[in-house]
């Protein structure tokens, strides 16, 4: 299933395209624009607008992808244009963690601890092949975790080895789009049930 980037689901109906909710969908779908939820959805969209445009990323570079992450923050690509203004060295002040590099078995508990220290709501981008699946070089190793999503829940995967800054920016903007669709009433914390395998 591709990502519909041009239109929102509520716009589909006007064009004769009905949005199909599968029976297995866990939540309840509240149709937008029927007037009943005008206050809540407006409040949501204001909060989400603010939240998605002031994501503060945490420095977390464990290998070469970190160079591309720094480049993304440097003047040429400059992720502060999109609100990723200040990269924080402390997990307490960040709400986005970009996993830029290989996660080894010794780093796994540290990553989980940093994630747990971040204030909610918190988001995760897995950048590069190593953070997605263990990587093209080190996957057959005694020491490498095969993907950061074994340790913490990941929102956006950015493939590449390493991804170009444009790819990372695309992933970050995708995360903003995801945040803009969030709903205060039905906000699900991704870490709930993660350790039991219920993702």
């Amino acid at each position: 299933m591709g990502v519909e980037k041009k239109r929102y689901l509520s716009q589909l109906e006007a064009e004769g395209l009905k949005e199909v909710v599968p029976d297995s969908f866990p939540g309840k779908v509240i149709p937008a624009g029927n007037g009943g939820n005008i206050v809540v959805t407006t409040l949501d969209s204001v909060i989400n607008w603010g939240r998605s445009n002031s994501l503060w990323p945490l420095y977390f570079g464990t290998s070469c992808c970190a160079i591309e992450m720094m480049q993304t923050g440097a003047p040429k690509h400059d992720f502060s244009r999109f609100g990723f203004e200040v990269a924080r060295p402390s997990a307490r002040q960040a709400d986005l963690i970009i996993i830029a590099g290989t996660i080894v078995n010794k780093m796994g508990p540290v990553l989980r601890r940093l994630y747990d220290q971040m204030a909610e709501p918190k988001y995760v981008i897995a950048m590069g092949a190593c953070a997605i699946s263990g990587g093209p070089f080190y996957y057959n190793s005694y020491s490498v975790i095969k993907g950061a999503d074994h340790v913490i829940p990941v929102d956006v995967y950015v493939p590449g080895c390493p991804p170009r800054p444009e790819s990372l920016l695309e992933g970050m903007i995708m995360l903003q789009e995801k945040i803009k669709t969030e709903n205060m009433k039905q906000k699900i914390n991704p870490i709930d049930g993660f350790d039991e395998g219920n993702i």
């Binding site: 010794k106 057959n140 005694y142 490498v144």
Partner: protein, 153 residues
């Protein structure tokens, strides 16, 4: 000092010293494990050699044999040499420690013990350095098997 001149001096230090160039920059000297400590201390104290700096110590698994490679340099004369030592015992490989000659060898030998399981006589504190203390096995050996994490080809 040129490699040929080094070879002439070092040849007098012990018996059955084997030299190979292997197309490399450094003169390569292979010693038996019984001779290792004596040859190394002479390499450091001999006034014409003075190899006072072990800038790299590497563990190695050649498939059949395990061994250690020492890269030595003299900070005074600026010449360098490679010393190789091998042992065929894979069950309980033991070599002599050189950390009383070069203090930096202490951590290098801990690392080699950690990844290759080569033990060093007279080492003051031989324990796991990078891996967890309860780790089983020697992961950089060629015959290491980890079914949970590695794909067997």
């Amino acid at each position: 000092m040129k490699n040929e001149e080094l070879q002439i001096i070092i040849n007098g230090l012990g018996e059955n010293l084997e030299f190979t160039e292997e197309g490399s920059e450094y003169l390569t000297l292979t010693v038996s494990k019984e001779q290792l400590h004596a040859v190394c201390s002479k390499l450091k104290t001999e006034p014409d050699l003075k190899f006072d700096y072990a800038f790299c110590i590497t563990g190695m698994d050649w498939g059949e044999e395990l061994g250690v490679i020492y890269h030595l340099e003299s900070t005074e004369f600026k010449h360098a040499i490679v010393v190789k030592v091998k042992t065929e015992d894979r069950e309980n490989p033991t070599l002599d420690s050189v950390c009383d000659i070069w203090r930096t060898a202490e951590f290098h030998e801990m690392e080699i013990f950690d990844f290759f399981g080569i033990k060093f006589n007279n080492h003051p504190n031989l324990k796991r350095l990078f891996l967890t203390p309860d780790w089983v096995g020697w992961p950089l050996r060629k015959d290491y098997v980890d079914e949970a994490n590695m794909i067997v080809k």
